[in-house]
Point group: D2
Chain length 389, copies 4
């Protein structure tokens, strides 16, 4: 029970570079905080911004050697791959529509990639990256952050161990409120999510619905085969969907349901799932991530809590603090980074090195395909097949 | 603040008869307990069972005059309508598939009807009853019990007063667990819900989905115009849907979503709604009915509680106990009966006599049409129009 | 599972009289609603008010025979005891300081008594009533309402069955808010609680602290032996304690703690206990009375819910509705009345007729002694012995 | 809104040393994780263990220069104070009974001290350290971790701004369960808490009761003047109190109540307070630290959440993540470290540099005096005065 807090002598540390993530880039700052918590990564190189001053400012703030502060990610990929001591991995935290090029270049250079979700906005690009990654078996991870919560993993263990009996229904919602007041006055870091040039073909669906969808597949190990989506825009002036409902069918016949919105007052980061089995249901909510509600038929509800002895055995290996001392969002992201380190340790066997499947490029591709399929379903008001590729 | 507990001198009491509801009929026993709480109804006649002994046993238990214990509801309708002191209303608590005939006969006899939900199983029958009821303007109420909860009414008041801003999405779920263990060993009072001869064309949808659907229309005052349903059977051997998802579109363009199931462990009587507005969301759950969760944008969640001074003004007229002393299910049903008494007091003006719209025969008809439409949508895997009649 | 709703043929009904409780007397109206729910009591006599008009008005509202509407409780005791068909019991719902005389007279007349809590304000009077009741073995019950909640009884069963292991600490709080805004504008039904002439020697302690104290003794079956109280007045102008803390010691060495207040914003009727055992703790709160929180060491919290198959066996005999359909305050009071009926059915063996010990006159006496002891302890700022009598 | 995640260029970093805290010392590992999150401290020196091998192992793990790995804290104090680049502060995380000597030596050397709570076990030692610290105005902070939670600070702001009206009662509990199973098999890191040689005169009271007590004084700004304690040992074989109740009186006349235990199943780290005011009450619980329950009289409960715009203005300066993304225990400790950095930045004006009063040596002293006073009160079963020094 000691993943993020204990100092374990002899562990390998990884030297990483960052593409994007200048000072003030808020999500990149979470990556950096999570890496500090995880305590196995050091940032030694970066192309933090297309603005040279900002790039240099960030590099200085992180005490980088001047020759590893790059003014373009292309330079960085080229230079790092030629060094005798190249970075062990690159972390790509550029805006979504700028993921493809750096991913492509670093994959081509054989450098492991950790990329923000969604992978890219276009299925063709997604497939091309997947092909590249496969070709060299290069480590590629997509930061589906919510997979890092110990109690999400506990849920997965319980589901897969059959504690719920047969899975009969899977519900997931991902509700946020930030768009509810309207499009005026949105910060730049939010506004781009309504711009098809940057966000891709979908809004709420692509941004948070993909997390929700990934969660169901991660928990159940089942793949979606068909879906029926309605993408709606409820906030005047918004350029993409801000609300969506997707009926899902999974292999084996399980039904599912996904509801996502940017405009649901009272929800700050409201990812919540309920998995219904033949013996019990299981519920978890991101806003109170330390507990799992397990409800058997005709019996007492049980509130499982991270760090207790009735956690799934595996769960305890992901926890850092004793029960009662809350772990939160940064700790979850750090758990993901700890997995990345474990996988990087394993070299070519990285795919099977972690006890929980790593969110690899194929998971990234499925997110892109989900958007594509939902757009088609919603336009035709019909069920569609989930694209095989 | 004194609806069910205070003894108000001078209030008219109503003499009522009951069709169905012999001893041990559990839902009928709730009606009787609610009537005792409400304290304005006395059972003076009944055709409690098609089994003469059971009928007489019940009549004796309620201390009825022997000549008002009827061995058939047809006799009862005929005899009561001929009496100088007929019953003021009849309460029909037979199994669903036996609602039509007694409803028809009592309506024809001009006797006010209180009928369990669902009205009937067949749209033609529903329309015929509606026609009959309209013809004589006879009082007809369907016991959509959940409308009786003060905090449901508080929600309705807040929604219609604009406290949520514009309504942007309406979610409702109605989950139960009793079917989850399987079809073996089901009590008779549950098993008929899977028999199309008795339950009609739908299972979970017709039984509880109609409550959920009615709730959204009651709260919002908006009518559903289109829907896209998937009816599923997840429990082996069950004869109808036990799980359903319905995407809804309401007049004015609001989207909605309904999820119902008989096979969701952890839910005993889990009716729950969340109404999403442009300014706030509102959430209520039948299993903890005394509170309403009101969540504005970027501010403290508020838990409104029945009986406090910040309830909607109307709400306080429906409450009987001070805040902190729980009112439950029987109290909610008794509130509905108090409304019925208020409406019966008003004679011909019964339709407009209550401060909250009475769940009349048209609400009953909509429930029947919902089943019909969902069956068609699910079969065709397509959106369908909600039938106008 | 059918205590308050089913109509059980052949059960004896009891004819009762009421002392106090004119129209508008709110607590008396709860007694009447609970009796209607319970469905075994009929009010046939009463001395509802010292004001003759009010008395007659109430009698008429309850459809009493004119000769059983009494203008004084003394007349009532005398007349009823002479009748061939006297009342089976009397319910005394006068203000606290007017309990003694009617209790005394009806006990002397050999008529069973159901008396509101607290029994009386003075220990000598308490002892005299106890002596009278003992002398004839007359049924005497004190309405410690909160003992009627099924989940309180479930807690008691679990504690006494050893599910918590050894009891190590008992905590109880009873917090209300009504006095917090100050003494101005208090309704008469609240204001008397600050008047020593009416309320007796203590305020919050006597009014609600006694409920809390009784709860610990009821749950554990242990008796308090020593206490250390501080009675405080935090609201300017209030004539008695409005806040109190009492450290408790029970036979066998268990410690306990009681906190009560009339001036705690956010608490409407906030009776809450937590019993700490060597294996698990148990928590219940009157404002959400349907569940029990059972927390074992280092394991999932369990939320037990009324009406489920893992309730203590006895609990199910006290419940009326299926789990998920809330039972509330009136149902709890009706459970107590159902116990009274069961005990009255048993005649001389009334003391041992119910499956849960009836709150008899000795429990009433202990409430009076508690006030006496706390006043002394608080005045002396010292531990005192709980008086043996 | 960016305390722990953003990388702020130009901030001064502090070089610190550690006394105690070898690898595997779990609380020390939290300090280190919190420092990494805070991102303003670097460990450059240490006397991690009295075992030379362990000390060197830890030093190596933290990549220390060999000459700053000290085999005794005395050497470290001497050597560091002679260096041209001494450490900016020392963090003392030895067992409680080994705080005094290192504190004394570093204070004498003029080196700022951050010391785990409790300060020491003996009042004389406490006073001596206070005298030393005062003499040179040396920075001295005691890690009352729970003061670091943003919503605790939000509570403090609201209380001091008068949002609750006048404070009328303060309740705090601190319950844990680890001792409930008994003394056999306790880990060394827990067992010492029952050994008077190491833990000092009190067990649960000194270990967690002091946190609880400090919390009330921190929140209210009021000082305790009198107390009445009962220290109990409920777990057979435990050498000190494992359960305690303390009645408190604060200057100005407010009453308070403290309950602490090591043996309360269901509580992992259960620090919880409720402050009762004349207008509203306020409640917070360490196990769900992101929210504050604010309950006004006769109105909706409000759940304030960290990071929202209705937080007290100051609160937002302590938060790092947007609302909805949980901050936990490490983040709270890191907030405290951020304060320490802010204070160290201020040099001689360190006492007034932070927007929230720093938990300085006087707070540490009060914790020691609390233990002393409670022992006396419990022994005499009497109220005692809180020692002025």
């Amino acid at each position: 029970m000691a993943r993020l807090t204990d100092d374990i002598p002899g562990q390998r540390r990884f030297k990483v570079g960052m593409v994007g993530g200048g000072l003030g880039a808020y999500f990149a700052s979470y990556h950096r905080a999570a890496m500090r918590l995880c305590n196995r990564f050091d940032i030694v190189a970066g192309a933090f911004s297309s603005d040279a001053d900002k790039c240099r400012e960030a590099g200085a703030a992180f005490s980088l050697e001047p020759d590893r502060i790059y003014l373009s990610f292309a330079d960085m990929a080229a230079a790092e791959s030629r060094r005798p001591d190249p970075i062990d991995a690159v972390i790509i935290v550029t805006p979504n529509h700028l993921h493809f090029e750096p991913c492509r270049l670093f994959l081509q250079a054989g450098i492991p990639v950790i990329c923000d979700k969604p992978l890219v906005n276009d299925p063709q690009e997604a497939h091309e990256l997947a092909r590249l990654a496969e070709y060299n078996n290069t480590f590629f991870a997509v930061t589906y952050t919510y997979q890092g919560y110990p109690m999400v993993r506990d849920a997965r263990s319980r589901i897969q161990a059959g504690e719920l009996g047969d899975i009969r229904f899977m519900y997931v919602e991902y509700l946020l409120e930030w768009l509810a007041p309207g499009v005026n006055g949105l910060s730049k870091s939010l506004a781009w999510r309504g711009d098809p040039q940057k966000a891709g073909p979908t809004g709420a669906l692509g941004d948070v619905g993909t997390h929700a969808f990934n969660m169901l597949e991660f928990l159940s190990g089942q793949r979606c085969t068909n879906l029926n989506a309605k993408l709606s825009t409820v906030v005047p002036g918004w350029g993409l969907d801000d609300t969506c409902v997707v009926q899902l069918e999974f292999e084996g016949g399980t039904d599912g349901l996904l509801w996502a919105s940017f405009a649901a007052p009272g929800h700050r980061n409201g990812l919540r799932f309920k998995i219904v089995g033949s013996k019990a249901s299981l519920e978890w909510c991101q806003e109170s991530p330390e507990t799992l509600l397990f409800t058997p038929i005709d019996g007492a509800d049980r509130i499982y809590r991270r760090g207790q002895s009735d956690n799934a055995a595996q769960t305890l290996t992901f926890t850092s603090l004793p029960a009662g001392n809350t772990e939160g969002y940064l700790e979850a992201l750090a758990v993901l980074y700890a997995d990345f380190a474990e996988a990087l340790d394993a070299g070519d066997s990285w795919r099977t090195a972690t006890s929980v499947p790593l969110p690899d490029i194929h998971e990234g591709v499925r997110g892109v395909l989900l958007s594509q399929a939902c757009v088609e379903s919603s336009r035709r008001r019909a069920w569609v097949v989930f694209p095989e590729r």
